[in-house]
Symmetry: C2
Subunit: 93 residues, 2 copies
């Protein structure tokens, strides 16, 4: 688990390029590299813009680590819900 958390931290800092925030462009590159499937499934050229609108609460064009992690939380909980539904269908629950 600690390694997974380090991965999330280092991913943020890698794409933030040692700024303490992500710009929309940083976020786009991160999503394209680390969540290629997710973006394609959105089938919406404005997907990153919409995610940015959700995360950039201060409207300063900057997404800090805490906001970034709320994105990760949302995605992980959605994946988990999908995983649980599938386990139930396979009769594992």
């Amino acid at each position: 688990m600690e390694h997974a958390m380090e991965t999330m931290m280092s991913t943020f800092h890698k794409f933030a390029r040692y700024k303490s925030y992500l710009t929309k462009e940083d976020l786009r590159v991160l999503m394209e590299k680390d969540f290629p499937g997710f973006l394609e499934n959105q089938n919406d050229p404005l997907a990153v813009d919409k995610i940015m609108m959700d995360l950039d609460e201060c409207r300063d064009g900057k997404v800090g680590f805490q906001s970034f992690f709320s994105l990760i939380t949302g995605l992980t909980i959605a994946f988990n819900d999908y995983f649980v539904v599938n386990m139930k269908q396979k009769g594992k629950k």
Copy 2:
């Protein structure tokens, strides 16, 4: 990143033993196995009880994935703050 998120999901389900929640005992075993350093640093025999009180909002002795993930969020943000302070001291920021 997707692998890191899968790790967090599989860790939860492993310790929940395919229940959809963790009991206090499940949480204790998870913390001892996956965050040994964290518990030792607390130097508080009631650390897990206190974490459970925070997470078990319904007071039913059960911690679901979403509450569990709020623990991971808190820990990761704390690690990140520590990491950023250290980077600043090393003059990387």
